[in-house]
């Protein structure tokens, strides 16, 4: 059979259309794929979350145990250049997290207290909504906002979308800047975005997140906020807690106990 160039182009064009059409249908058919649909949001069987007890955390303001444990576990590079920093969990003054939550007349001000910051694993994550490739998604079984570093194209739309500044981009190759390599966890390549994953690799082995385990003050409480019997729910039921920018409707799952 002889095929002219024109026919070949026609056939391959048709194949391409059919292929992409099939993909499109597959996505439309399975509601599970649309992570940001109202049905999926807030109605997950399980939603992992964390309480940060600022009173316990403030006992040692210079403490960086949670940060060090995370950095070590996840091969987080150490950049001197502020612009290139990669952070999964880090500390910022409380006033930067909650700029409108306190009056200026308090005698003991929380304002300057270094407070841990990390991904909020939102019920309705804007980063997931905007990602053009599905490289970040909300995991059905436990509500973690996950990242696929092999699919990310590095467009950084998720960084623009995140209202919490929880995402970092690998501006340069991070590997030379990882001092103490953990062979059990992947390093990343330049050009992709990364963030906290609630230590999904440790949870899979039945362990707590590295930061929670490292905290000697027990200031971090981790668990399923959809389970009324969980420890985190007990604490949430008895204490007044704050969530960062909850008015945006993102449904953050990091609670700050003050």
């Amino acid at each position: 059979m002889k095929i002219t160039r024109k026919e070949f182009l026609k056939i391959s064009g048709a194949c391409l259309v059919a292929f992409s059409g099939k993909k499109a249908l597959a996505v439309l058919e399975s509601p599970a794929q649309s992570q940001d649909s109202p049905a999926a949001a807030g109605k997950l069987h399980k939603q992992l979350g964390m309480i940060i007890d600022t009173r316990k955390c403030a006992k040692d303001q210079g403490c960086t145990k949670c940060i060090e444990a995370c950095n070590k576990a996840h091969n987080i590079p150490d950049f001197q250049n502020e612009a290139h920093r990669i952070e999964w969990i880090w500390k910022r003054p409380f006033g930067d997290l909650f700029s409108s939550y306190e009056t200026q007349y308090l005698e003991t001000s929380l304002k300057d207290e270094p407070t841990p910051v990390l991904c909020n694993h939102c019920d309705n994550p804007p980063c997931v909504r905007v990602c053009p490739t599905g490289a970040t998604w909300k995991r059905e079984e436990d509500g973690i906002v996950m990242m696929d570093w092999h699919r990310c194209i590095g467009c950084r739309y998720c960084m623009a979308a995140c209202p919490y500044g929880a995402r970092s981009f690998n501006w340069v190759d991070p590997r030379p800047h990882v001092a103490d390599l953990n062979p059990d966890y992947p390093t990343r390549t330049r050009g992709v975005v990364e963030k906290c994953t609630f230590c999904s690799e440790r949870l899979a082995k039945g362990q707590l997140p590295a930061c929670v385990e490292a905290c000697t003050e027990k200031a971090l409480v981790f668990g399923d906020v959809n389970d009324p019997k969980s420890e985190i729910r007990q604490v949430l039921a008895k204490n007044y807690t704050l969530r960062r920018r909850a008015e945006l409707g993102t449904g953050p799952n990091i609670y700050y106990l003050i």
Binding site: S20, K23, A24, V27, L28, S34, D36, N81, E82, A83, H84, R85, E87, R92, D96, L97, S99, V117, P126, R129, V130, C131, P132, T133, G134, A135, R151, C152, I153, G154, C155, R156, Y157, M159, A160, A161, C162, P163, Y164, G165, S168, F169, N170, W171, V172, D173, R190, G191, V192, V193, R245, L248, G249, T250
Partner: protein, 437 residues
């Protein structure tokens, strides 16, 4: 390739210009290869200001691309015959601008080799997916339109009827590309400077001022270099469009300014304080924001006084002011301003680096080269038609020579080109008339 041979014939000046553009592109490509191997850390972008000059240029150029509709719409929907010699220029400008948009997206990507993931794993909830779709669709539409109409013109036949449908489709499509690009920003919950319903309308208004302003400047340049005259009426018509669009654009900015400054909600005022007032922060945007506002005001004065708008010299200045003020407004201030302050309240300075500037200039050079080559082809066809009454089959042979003549002796051709130009407008106008019935 399609009539490409026409771009291979030109005067010494033409080749010097093309050579210079190629040299800029080559240098920029070198810098890009370095960025590709080193990473985007080569740029001035940071954790806090994670989009910069590249995405700014992309946003601005989507507007330039969309603005082709401002010559196509009056011509095809309202039968404004005076735009007959301008439509092809507008459409070619659109093709070049969309290509530049795509290049700016590519150079901004951390992993450009994975770009097809957007189509392999389509995410219908991502505005970026729809933006890619609308941009590539717009490119295909305009490439088809220019190719088919120019080919028909070269053969001296009226274009096929189906192309009218494509042209009509390109009108709402042009609006869509800039609307969707506006949604890229206005749909983000946490960026208060961007989260405004007026974002897409403001984009469109600024686009319909900046794009036609550039087109007017290009028309002046073409007349000087080649003698191809789009006609006084066309320029005046387009100048009125630029004026209205600029007024609406400035009006929209004033609306934003009032809403922010009278309500005094910190998240809203921060952006304006940063860009125009300089009351709180010390980021590098203040001089840019202020320059943009001053240029806009000056442009409005020149455009609003009829005597100045109709005077070609002052109109050229006004168009340059419109274009540069809106380039600053969208290409520099809008995108970067949205990242200041960061979600954690940091005021991070963004200053593009030398490689970043070189790559940006390189992409602009690609656009300039495309416009040069496209206009050369288009004008070869047009001028060949006007300058000689030889039968159609002889055009191919003479077009190149006439094009050369036009290049070398543009001034000599200019005085005579007015009359045959008018004639040509009517001749090809007949074909259009049939379409409208």
């Amino acid at each position: 390739m399609f009539m490409f041979e026409k771009a291979m014939v030109g005067s010494r000046r033409y080749w010097i210009w093309v050579g210079a553009l190629l040299a800029v592109i080559a240098v920029a490509f070198g810098f890009y290869l370095h960025q590709l191997s080193y990473g985007l850390g080569l740029t001035g972008m940071s954790r806090d200001v994670s989009w910069g000059l590249y995405i700014g240029q992309f946003t601005f150029l989507v507007g330039v691309a969309a603005s082709a509709v401002m010559v196509v719409l009056p011509y095809y929907l309202h039968n404004h015959k005076e735009f007959v010699r301008m439509t092809i220029l507008g459409e070619f400008l659109a093709v070049s601008a969309v290509t530049m948009c795509m290049l700016f997206i590519m150079v901004d990507m951390g992993k450009p080799m994975r770009v097809f993931n957007v189509f392999l794993y389509p995410q219908f909830h991502s505005v970026m997916f729809w933006d890619m779709l609308s941009l590539s669709g717009y490119l295909v539409l305009n490439a088809t339109i220019t190719l088919v109409t120019l080919h028909a013109e070269q053969q001296d036949v009226s274009p096929p009827h189906w192309i009218k449908l494509i042209i009509l489709l390109s009108i709402p499509w042009a609006i869509s590309i800039h609307t969707v690009t506006g949604f890229l920003y206005s749909g983000l919950p946490g960026r208060l400077a961007w989260r405004t319903a007026i974002m897409a309308p403001r984009f469109l208004a600024s686009a319909f001022a900046a794009g036609p302003a550039l087109l007017i400047l290009l028309c002046f340049l073409l007349r000087r270099q080649t003698g191809y005259d789009v006609g006084k009426k066309a320029i005046n018509g387009l100048a009125v469009i630029v004026t209205y669009a600029m007024i609406i654009n400035v009006f929209f900015i004033a609306m934003e300014f009032f809403t922010a400054m009278y309500s005094r909600v910190p998240g809203l005022t921060e952006d304006f304080e940063d860009l125009y007032l300089g009351t709180v922060s010390h980021t590098s945007l203040l001089p840019w924001g202020r320059t943009s506002i001053v240029l806009m005001a000056a442009a409005l004065v020149l455009l609003l006084v009829p005597r100045m708008r109709r005077n070609e010299k002052t109109l050229a200045v006004a168009c340059a002011l419109v274009f540069s003020s809106l380039w600053i407004d969208k290409g520099v201030c809008m995108v970067v301003g949205g990242f200041i302050p960061s979600p954690l309240g940091t005021l991070t300075r963004y200053v593009p680096t030398l490689p970043e500037l070189a790559i940006t200039l390189g992409v602009w050079a690609v656009g300039a080269l495309m416009v040069t080559v496209f206009y050369k082809i288009a004008l070869s066809v047009e001028i060949a038609k006007e300058a000689s009454y030889v039968p159609a089959y002889e055009f191919a042979r003479t077009a190149g020579a006439v094009g050369l003549q036009a290049q070398a002796g543009g001034a000599a051709l200019a005085p005579g080109s007015g009359a045959p130009g008018q004639e040509n407008g009517e001749v090809s106008g007949k074909g259009e008339q049939e379409w409208h019935q």
